[in-house]
Amino acid sequence: MKTDKIFKGILWISGLFLFFIFLLIFISLFKGSFLSIKSFGLGFLFSKEWNPVTEKFGMLPFLAGTLITSIIALLISLPFSLSIALFLGEYFKTGFISKFLSYTTDLLAGIPSVIYGFWGLYLLVPLIRKLEIKLHVTPYGVGILTASLVLAVMIIPYASSIAREIIKLVPGDLIEAGYSLGATRYEVVKKIVIPYSASGIFAGLLLSFGRAFGEIMAVTMVIGNFNFLPKSIFSPANTMASVIANEFTEAVKDIHLSSLIHIGLWLFIITFLINFVGNIVIKKFKVNERITG
């Protein structure tokens, strides 16, 4: 029985160690960004000036850049990810074609983000540049639109797998009741499946948004790294994650480094809140389903 006690002791120590990591994460992030928090306070969120020379730092341009790219990416990907979810969850539940589709979306999810960035740089950037020349805007090629397109491709597998799980939870008898009343599949989807799973799908969107929010490399490679508020969807910009990726090794001044860590802290807080709300809504949806379904 002595070995049991020792083993249980080890289990507890490992648990406490994990808790220690948790504390350390918060302490380090706060300590690391302390200088910036002290100098700029909450104004850091709303100041649009980011200037290492004058040592004035504010993250509004990056917050705006992240929000805009993520929202556009989400809007572009929505019809595609919903279609895949309906395709796999309602139209073709089994068979070769559904296996093919779920396998390829899995592969899409597994491609490293730096390769998406590389691909965006070589295929999308020239295409967008051509489009910009046609539209008579400055042909940067890189910018918000390019980043959003790459992001959209990257979040489709994630969003569709959540939506598919949610759609699968729609009770079969509701769907059958719809059919027995003479509804077509379109009507069943539109009037039963989608309304029933609306809150779950919304949560899935939120989680995908969180995913896009924290994406780094692919965005960094195609967004143009421009530290000012973006003026249009064609203009180059910067996101919170990509400014950290770009400037961290170059930051020689303490206040610069501290401000970058400060952005990291906000990135932590925002993604945490998004994931938290998303997971609660999904959990609630699943519990409701168990009660009613």
């Binding site: 279609s83 589709l101 899409l108 390769i115 379109y186 009507e187 961290f248």
Partner: protein, 278 residues
């Protein structure tokens, strides 16, 4: 009758829309794979694996430093994350109280964190005290990403082991330790292994947290205390460079990285299937 026809037509249009949108969304995958194969295969030959990158302008050159560096980083990340992850996974699965509930939530939060935050943490914990970039700090950043995956897969598979197995073990007079090590862990090894492999395939392609931890190194380095190159880092640097021979190396490295990730995914699927059968 006309109304019915409209209804059926709408239904058909909707189906065509769903099918075509679904199929359109997999097109990028094939474009990516095609381009990487087409451009990557040109860069790859035997020398590509056994030589170092050449300076801009010179022909040929390889990725040996990045291959070895990636292996070193993965080993460090595994050393830190696997033992701790499995033990904490057992702890969370076997102990039910407020503390483990909290730890479970924390693990979920850790999993959702953008990887650049892991990089910042590894920078603050390892690079700053040491005063320079190192493979060790890169490994720490990657292990922070891997830890939640190992913990969760351990916890979930252990919970799936039938309670009767545990009871049988106790009935035979086994104590807690041997029940865990001789019954529970062997029964869940497949699930834990697949969790680890999924983790490896994810961190193998991770770039952002390495930018300011492992940093990169144009030479071969196997010393954990010195900066080291990795495949994704090399792809990022060389893809963004204006030099043609560097871009060619980036395409070749992308092909190797994609093949590595695909192979790991297939391998994981095989393990999961086998484990489910037994």
């Amino acid at each position: 009758m006309k109304e019915l026809q409209v209804k059926i037509l709408k239904d058909k249009i909707f189906k065509v829309l769903i099918v075509s949108l679904s199929l359109i969304s997999v097109i990028p995958l094939f474009i990516i794979l095609f381009q990487i194969f087409k451009n990557g295969i040109k860069a790859i030959n035997f020398e590509f694996f056994v030589s170092l990158p050449k300076p801009p302008g010179e022909e040929a050159g390889g990725i040996l430093n990045a291959l070895l560096g990636t292996i070193l980083l993965l080993i460090i990340a595994l050393i830190f994350s696997v033992p701790l992850g499995i033990i904490t996974g057992i702890f969370i699965a076997e102990t039910r109280n407020k503390f483990t509930d909290f730890l479970r939530d924390f693990v979920n939060v850790l999993q959702g964190l953008p990887s650049i935050v892991m990089g910042i943490l590894a920078y603050l914990w390892v690079v700053k005290p040491m005063g320079h970039f190192s493979a060790l700090s890169g490994g720490v950043a990657l292990s922070l990403m891997m830890l939640p995956l190992v913990i969760k897969s351990t916890e979930e598979t252990i919970k799936m082991v039938p309670f009767s197995l545990k009871e049988a073990s106790y009935a035979l007079g086994a104590n807690y330790v041997s029940t865990i090590f001789r019954v529970i862990l062997p029964a869940s090894i497949g699930g834990i292994m697949s969790g680890i492999l999924i983790g490896v395939s994810r961190i193998a392609g991770e770039t952002a947290p390495l930018l300011f931890t492992a940093f990169g190194n144009p030479f071969i380095n196997m010393n954990p205390l010195k900066p080291v190159e990795s495949l994704p880092l090399l792809i990022f640097k060389y893809a963004m460079s204006p030099y043609e021979n560097w871009q060619r190396i980036a395409w070749g490295a992308s092909l190797i990285l994609i093949l590595m990730v695909l192979f790991l995914n297939i391998f994981t699927n095989i393990i999961i299937e086998k484990w489910k059968k037994s």
